[in-house]
């Protein structure tokens, strides 16, 4: 008796589990991204004059910049791991839709980035002296929305960059312009919320983030099959 091929979402889930299992075994990428993030947060602190800018004003910008670059580090390995021994062929031959491969990898990247954030946000609160409960309540949802945007675009460009000559240079070059609206909207929203402004002031930026996520998750899912070699 033959089992029917998995549906789109269950296939994506299987692929995500595979990627996360690989990552869990070695933990090398996770640890390096985590250390990079913490180092980034600390370095920005050393680079700035505390009498000039208050910590609470600096913190959001530092967080989003560090988050972006750390995200890029993690994203590269997403398709980089498939390049060895042409492991991508096994995925292509499997009876799953191409879009499921993209969704699975994006989901795995999202879990990866989310886990790093779980450590980075408390570190930010610690280093920059933010009030823990209000700051985390403000930053965590924004971080989640930003992470969705980041991984959706980054996973797609990772699959493209890995096939080119300049893979490690190209991924940041392609992705950073697309990260700009995410960083802009997240920083604007979190600066306002951390300064104690009402939610309504931050809402336009949060709406931009949500819109960005919706548009780009769909667009990248549709575009992904075009980036795979025929």
């Amino acid at each position: 008796m033959q089992a029917s091929p998995p549906s789109l979402l269950s296939a994506a889930w299987i692929i995500a589990r595979k990627d996360l299992a690989v990552e869990l075994r070695t933990r090398s990428a996770f640890l390096s991204v985590l250390v990079f993030t913490l180092l980034g947060l600390a370095t920005f602190y050393f680079a700035w004059d505390p009498s000039a800018v208050a910590a609470v004003d600096l913190a959001p910008g530092v967080l989003w910049v560090t988050f972006t670059f750390a995200g890029l580090l993690g994203l590269h390995r997403s398709f980089g791991m498939e390049a060895q021994d042409r492991a991508i062929d096994a995925l292509l031959v499997a009876p799953v839709e191409r879009e499921a491969i993209y969704l699975g990898k994006a989901l795995a990247n999202f879990v990866f980035v989310g886990t790093v954030l779980c450590a980075a946000l408390p570190a930010l609160v610690l280093f920059y002296n933010l009030p823990p409960a209000p700051a985390l309540a403000a930053l965590a949802p924004i971080a989640l929305l930003a992470a969705i945007g980041l991984v959706s675009v980054g996973t797609l460009f990772s699959s493209m960059a890995v096939n080119t000559r300049l893979a490690e240079l190209l991924l940041p070059m392609l992705s950073l312009p697309f990260f700009v609206p995410i960083v802009m909207a997240s920083s604007q929203a979190s600066t306002r919320l951390l300064a104690g402004r009402p939610l309504a002031e931050a809402m336009p930026w949060i709406k931009i983030l949500i819109a960005f996520d919706l548009v780009f998750v769909v667009a990248c899912t549709v575009a992904f099959p075009y980036t795979l070699e025929e």
């Binding site: 675009v153 493209m160 300049l166 070059m173 931009i208 548009v215 575009a223």
Partner: protein, 214 residues
Amino acid sequence: MLLALAAVAGAVTRILAFTPYEAHQGAAQKIYYIHVPAAMSAYLALGVVAAMSIVYLWLHDERSDRLAESAAEVSFVFTTVVLVTGPLWARPIWNTWWSWDARLNLTLFLWFVTAAYLVLRGAIEQDAMRARYSAVLGVLAALLVPFIHLSVYLFRTMHPMPIVLKPSEPSLPREMLTTFLIASLAFLFFGVALIRARYRLTPLLRSSAGGGNA
């Protein structure tokens, strides 16, 4: 192409010799006649890139890829002109070369995206893959532009608001409006001529660089 160059030369003459000085800004205001038309040509060329990217993904016609490539290079050049003339104007008027104003961000950003497009093209040797990947990037970039544009209008901007293309009547005096229209047409014409010239050049460039890559 010759006609386009003549049109640009004519426009520049008119700008320099025949247009009155603006009351508050003096001579520096004349950069407006180059800056804005260049921006219009740049946007037009970028629109061509986006459209041709969609066409390529739909029809897989190699000519649309060639046109997208040519339009991207021309757009890059014109955006560079905008980004150079802008600060040249800004220094005497705003007393700063650059302000992180929203509209400046949008243009800088388009410059980065176009640069990324051209670097991507340079990084891939096989024609078919290059065309496919560039088309994907082109379509995504086209989707991205409205988001950046939205952020432009979410904060108050220092950059002069539109004085011609706006709902009420243009607020430029007659001679300046004429010069502006002449300059716009000249630059648009020039942009189209450049795209056509570059398009004709593509097969030669590819055969000399790739040595006949299929």
